[in-house]
């Protein structure tokens, strides 16, 4: 292993199969981007079926969308965007070698905002939908005032719960990663030279935010809410 020493001292976290730090960092971010492409295709299956059914049953989707409360959707979007900001600031402070507590502060902020998102989602929306019998499979009630597209509204709610459910699952995983990062930062594992795990988790978190950026208009704002007095 004589040649390893020849490479000079490496910052902590250097993996033996790489030649130098930049190669490892590039490999890490390329790996995460390729993983995000698989996530695009994973959510893509749902978005594709959503597009097909929305073009086949436009009234049912519009009817279902009006039953959702856009204000909760909007607040959740704002919450997620701010969590993206705090995540970006966490990476920035790691890059510029800020103190450990600043980094942990930003990470905790991101974590809390993520938890807030899930809280709003669970309490204000899903529980509310449960009370109003809008969960397909669990005593879904087709209301007469839905008129002719009534029988297809459960299809919209299948999509609503599948897509937001999968997104919420990714949020929970993100929160798990953030807490692990906070612990690793507390143990002084990162420095201005080695912060790849932070950067890669940031990419993941921003991706989950982007999925919500698309989910919000596609699920909550179908066909506009003018004149129907629906909040």
């Amino acid at each position: 292993m004589a040649d390893m020493a020849a490479h000079g001292a490496h910052p902590p976290g250097f993996a033996h199969q790489f030649e130098e730090m930049a190669q490892q960092r590039e490999a890490g971010s390329l790996g995460m981007w390729v993983f995000l492409v698989t996530e695009i295709m994973f959510f893509g299956g749902l978005f594709a079926t959503y597009t097909v059914y929305r073009s086949l049953h436009p009234q049912a989707f519009e009817m279902g969308s009006h039953l959702l409360e856009a204000r909760f959707g909007a607040t959740n979007t704002a919450v997620l965007i701010s969590s993206s900001l705090t995540m970006a600031l966490a990476i920035h402070s790691a890059q510029t070698g800020k103190s450990k507590s600043t980094i942990i502060g930003y990470l905790i902020a991101t974590l809390v905002l993520g938890a807030a998102f899930i809280g709003i989602k669970l309490y204000f929306e899903w529980y509310h939908d449960y009370v109003e019998h809008l969960i397909p499979g669990i005593d879904f009630v087709i209301r007469p005032e839905w008129g002719h597209a009534g029988s297809q509204v459960p299809l919209f709610f299948c999509f609503y719960f599948f897509m937001t459910g999968l997104h919420a699952l990714h949020m929970v995983i993100g929160i798990g990663i953030l807490s692990v990062l906070a612990i690793m930062t507390a143990r002084q594992r990162f420095s201005s030279e080695y912060y790849a795990p932070l950067e890669i988790s940031g990419l993941y978190w921003h991706f989950v935010d982007i999925v919500w950026i698309f989910l919000f208009p596609l699920l909550y704002l179908i066909g506009g809410r003018y004149g129907t007095g629906v909040h």
Binding site: G147, H148, A149, S151
Partner: protein, 331 residues
């Protein structure tokens, strides 16, 4: 020794002759499809033969004679590459145009074809002639008459496949799919279920009996005196209370159905769709998804109250009053 050889060859010969090579061709499109099939077989054997012969030749000519042979350093040749990209592309283009035009022509049933309704149910075929006779796993059709099969399924996806007619189409739940054929030879031919549909998928088979017109006429009338689908449909139409809204003179809450079949209808959503089996079925099963401009969406859904067979009978009835009315108008 010779007799041994002779008997050996004869038993092989009998076995080989026992193997049919070409399925019976008993419909108008069978010969065209077979022409395309044998052309493709020719192409396959030709190219496989070329590759096999070339490899065999190179294997013999350039076998390794000594271990330190230094073979020629050939990089490749652009003209050759272009050649064996364009030639297969050309062959593919020709085959595509031929196959697609054949498929396109076969996809439209002739206008005057007699219609038979098929309902696929887990592991049996219901076949219903408009004149009344109902059959299970058997289909009696006259020769040289274009037959259009309108098919639907009551549970999973099945597939109506008659190899002798080179005809196959999946049978889907909740939708009508249709195929057509014109038998050219009398005889009995296999019906297979071509899409896996459960435990007895292999038992969901039957026979098509192609008969001469006289035999067919005798068979159709000779059968037990049962009413035609339209008559059964008419009784069902009354029993379900459809006639309370759909009055013949159109004064009821629903539109008059007389003379409706076949005419394009402008829906409230602005889309005009011809009143065919699919539209009537949708009106019965999911009425409020087709709204007529002048009528309120108050028709209740009959999904669950009528099975596929009854839907077909109602459609037959609507078609029957559709055509009568048109005759009276045209007189």
């Amino acid at each position: 020794m010779a007799s041994l050889l002779h008997s050996g060859f004869s038993c092989v010969a009998t076995v080989l002759t026992a193997i049919p090579v070409r399925p019976t061709a008993a419909s108008t499109i069978a010969d065209d499809v077979d022409k395309l099939h044998f052309t493709l077989t020719g192409i396959t054997f030709f190219f496989t033969g070329i590759i096999f012969a070339t490899i065999l030749y190179f294997m013999i000519k350039y076998r390794r004679r000594s271990d330190n042979e230094r073979p020629a350093d050939i990089e490749g040749s652009l003209p050759l590459e272009i050649a064996w990209t364009l030639i297969p592309a050309l062959i593919c283009a020709v085959i595509f145009v031929w196959a697609s035009s054949l498929y396109f022509r076969n996809s439209r049933p002739p206008v005057a074809s007699t219609e038979i309704f098929v309902i696929g149910k887990q592991w049996m075929w219901h076949l219903q002639h408009p004149e009344g006779p109902r059959e299970i796993n058997e289909l009696h059709v006259p020769v040289n008459v274009p037959i259009k099969l309108t098919m639907t399924s009551e549970d999973v996806i099945h597939d109506f496949y008659v190899p002798a007619f080179r005809v196959k189409k999946d049978v889907l739940p909740g939708r009508y799919t249709s195929i057509w054929f014109q038998a050219t030879k009398t005889g009995t031919y296999h019906i297979f279920c071509g899409q896996y549909c459960g435990a007895d998928h292999a038992e969901m088979i039957g026979w098509v009996f192609v008969m001469t017109p006289t035999d067919y006429a005798a068979w159709i009338s000779g059968g037990s005196r049962n009413e035609s689908m339209a008559q059964v449909g008419e009784r069902l139409f009354a029993k379900l209370g459809c006639d309370t809204c759909h009055l013949p003179d159109g004064s009821g809450r629903g539109p008059s159905l007389a003379g409706l079949y076949g005419k394009p209808e402008k829906l409230r959503s602005g889309e005009t769709r011809p009143v065919d089996e699919a539209l009537i079925r949708q009106a019965i099963v999911n009425p409020n998804s087709i709204l007529l401009p002048k009528y309120p969406p108050i028709m209740p859904t009959f999904q669950g109250q009528v099975n596929e067979e009854q839907v077909l009978q109602l459609i037959a009835y609507v078609k029957s009053i559709g055509t009568e009315e048109r005759q009276t108008n045209s007189k």
